[in-house]
């Protein structure tokens, strides 16, 4: 039995884990799916990366969780790397699922290709609250291309605007890389994930390779396999999270 804490990515909130969490619970595991500060519908979007991290650290301390497998999806990778810096003693294993593992000192923006950097900056500037909204064509073609159109549309309606400042903040991650050899670490890669373009800017092995011999687990599917194949993803999370 494993205690999982699942940290969602950009445009998502904790409630969207439900299909995956149900499969994990059915397999006998405990699952927590907190929402990161500034994420979800109808909340204050004026947060920076430190606020996002603090919201999860505070929540874990209040819930007094320990010996957890902490998983981050996409942007959530930047959160779990920082949470691990703050409370490493409570974390048994880190699991990055098509997630950012920023190089020391980099922001998330530094880790995406130039055309995404420009697009996100323009969308934030055009918003009235410094957020980035997901354009449907990108969602449908690059994030959830393995879904029928109806599922692509219904999940799109559940997304929320993403605060931009956490994309911009630089993350030293000095302690993260110091402590990394002391913790279990896994990388889950969906082989058709094109949220980052495959190749030079791809997730794997660029991000996975920074984890120093992490356990690699792969599955077919897009960046949003949590919606298109939740049972398979749950199985791979179990394989990534076990001892």
């Amino acid at each position: 039995m494993t205690e999982f804490v699942l940290i969602h990515g950009s445009w998502h909130d904790g409630a969207l884990w439900e299909p995956v969490a149900t499969h994990l619970r059915d397999a006998g595991h405990t699952v927590h799916t907190p929402t990161v500060a500034g994420h979800g519908v109808g909340v204050d979007k004026a947060v920076d990366h430190a606020d996002c991290v603090a919201s999860i650290v505070d929540w874990m301390l209040e819930a007094d969780l320990s010996d957890v497998v902490l998983l981050g999806h996409s942007y959530g990778g930047t959160i779990i790397a920082r949470v691990f810096e703050e409370i490493p003693e409570r974390i048994r294993r880190l699991v990055f699922w098509n997630a950012f593992v920023p190089a020391p000192g980099n922001s998330l923006l530094d880790e995406v290709p130039p055309h995404y950097r420009e697009l996100f900056s323009q969308l934030a500037a055009a918003s009235d609250d410094n957020t980035v909204s997901m354009p449907f064509p990108i969602w449908r073609e690059a994030f959830i291309q393995d879904a029928p159109l109806e599922l692509a549309q219904s999940t799109f309606e559940q997304l929320s605007s993403e605060p931009f400042q956490p994309f911009v903040d630089k993350l030293p991650l000095t302690r993260f890389y110091e402590l990394l050899p002391t913790v279990g670490r896994s990388y889950i890669n969906a082989t058709e994930d094109t949220a980052l373009p495959p190749g030079e800017w791809g997730w794997h092995p660029r991000m996975s390779g920074r984890l120093l011999g992490a356990r690699l687990v792969q599955l077919p599917g897009s960046h949003e396999v949590m919606f298109t194949a939740p049972a398979l993803l749950a199985q791979k999370i179990i394989e990534a999270g076990r001892d």
Copy 2:
């Protein structure tokens, strides 16, 4: 219901799509499989790339097709890129299946590794009609390695010699790259396709990456999965071609 136009690759003709076309039709779709000029058995091989393109454009105009999903396999990628330049208003989505997406100004020969360039040139020079015949060992080991030997042999007997001039002709593709953002575009990649050697000269992400955020669909199999797994390929063509 989608209207598919499937453009075959080198050494093939339209009739060889039959197993795939049958599965697509069984799923309720309309399928056309024209043969490109200079291709097939017993036809005049003295064609250039423009002749090949014109043969498909003329055929589509005569059949008065519109709103089609136009798919190209291998060499067929050079054809659909050019057909799209000529009659973009008739095309709903381009699907490249392990197909060439030539960089602006390149010929097909410019896009293959030097040892293939040399081999094709030698074979054409040794022929009496400036064509390239497929050597069986390359067919068996690099194109259809997932088939039993019997299927490799029976399909080999259905191949025809390939006109060489269309490999040599340079393709500006100025209008193709200008119009690309306005059309749906997908790339299907068979993960064991070694018709181009994996890595620096491979199909994916080298070719797929030129399509600016195209929808990626992958399946296991060789370059000739149309013969070795036609039902699976048909399913992936549907996923690549839907809205």
Copy 3:
């Protein structure tokens, strides 16, 4: 019916092929699984690479085997490359399964990333018989990450210390590369194999690409899929080994 000779990798011996060999025999094939000199429990570890090669060549001559499909796993790739140099006339096809195909003049150590080079050298220096013992965390996370913990542990107990000198010996391989075009050659790649880190130092296409258009066969799984999915590996060995 094919006659297979399977050459194990480092830390393994011939007996560990049993689950795979059983599946191959059930499919009607003949299978031999000799142990390389200096490998296994309770044997003299003072061997160099030439001793390892000679032990297999001598065994094949004594058994008077010919027309065999010779497969090497991992380190076993360096053995089959050299055995082929010595008795090419007895070999129908070479199959490298996530195996080293050393560049001309290289040792195995030259082909692994610097941190492995350093680790193996340190472990050998710290041993009393110039051998390298497999650390359990590397076995569990990088070699057999697709196994449940119990299988990772039970297989770990079957490993034996690896003689270091064969890692160090330079292999000219002049004749190997000269004769390579004359023999059937296949590369089997398990897509989650992280015994070599994916990317710049990975198995595929770095090693497979040296085989000049070898037949590529892939399967999901780790470096030790012989333990985690022996039936599937046997099926892929058959696909790799057939004409």
